[in-house]
Symmetry: C2
DNA sequence: AGTAAAATCAATAATAGTTATTATTATATA
DNA sequence: TATATAATAATAACTATTATTGATTTTACT
């Protein structure tokens, strides 16, 4: 028999974690997921959440987002899109905008290495916080 | 006297930290700075390094870089420029390229909040690692 | 269905990066 | 130079993440 290929066993926990991420657009952290998923899996451990998040990221099923926030955030939407982080409330949201993947070309121009892609995080003040600063009275 | 304004006392340690960052283009972490600067200030503590890095960042004298790496990196070059992170060796370098600040305009188009700026991290394989993969023999 | 290998699990310990606390020292200004 | 304030060193505490362990479950193959 062939032991060189590694089979991946399915687990209810991993399914639940993956399902949570793709059905929530909140870009949750490992801890967010852990706390919510405990309602359905009271015995699940934080280690299991981390292990499966790492695995799902390696498989390319989800994406990991790193920005100023101390913790990593995860995104179930793996199609190319950009993010906005509010400097005031810290929320992270998807940003609908035209495709700007051509910046990779621009970056390659005077660079001897190979550009594979980019991560771009816009920051500023989100609509909700803007409202609080200048409320329409 | 007026106690509402906060005066900032100078310290040799902070000067040394700031000087280290602006004279090194390596985008060091707090720990990098700590370890190097100990040669001149054997008694300096890591807490002092962190506190001053936070302060200098708040003052806008240096910039904090957050990307996949676990630790924060710091940059003494506060003029707008972009960064490249090598997926192979993890190095971070400045990227000379045309100005692409207009992406902020593009992002603002369908967004009700206020875009103040962006951080963009290009990734791929750096020239040195590319050489190692396909050496010219 | 039976079985062995592999992957899973929860629990916990360990590590890394960072922040907070406190008593002491240095700095700026009167 | 006396005084008030800020910065320091040392250390403790905290948060996010990873590694370890030993038991259980799942899978591939018979």
């Amino acid at each position: 028999m062939n032991h060189t290929t590694r089979t991946l066993n399915r687990s209810k926990q991993r399914d639940a974690i993956f399902n949570y991420i793709i059905t929530h657009k909140t870009h949750p952290t490992a801890d967010d997921i852990y706390n919510d998923i405990r309602k359905d899996f009271p015995n699940i451990s934080l280690g299991t959440v981390y292990r499966n998040l790492t695995l799902l990221t390696e498989l390319g099923s989800i994406k990991k987002l790193s920005y100023g926030d101390a913790a990593e955030h995860f995104d179930g939407d793996i199609t190319p899109h950009n993010h906005f982080i509010c400097n005031t409330c810290g929320s992270i949201t998807d940003l609908q905008m035209e495709n700007i993947d051509f910046v990779d070309e621009a970056a390659s121009r005077n660079f001897d290495g190979k550009i594979a892609g980019h991560n771009i995080y816009f920051y500023g003040t989100c609509p909700s916080c803007l409202q609080n600063i200048h409320p329409e009275h």
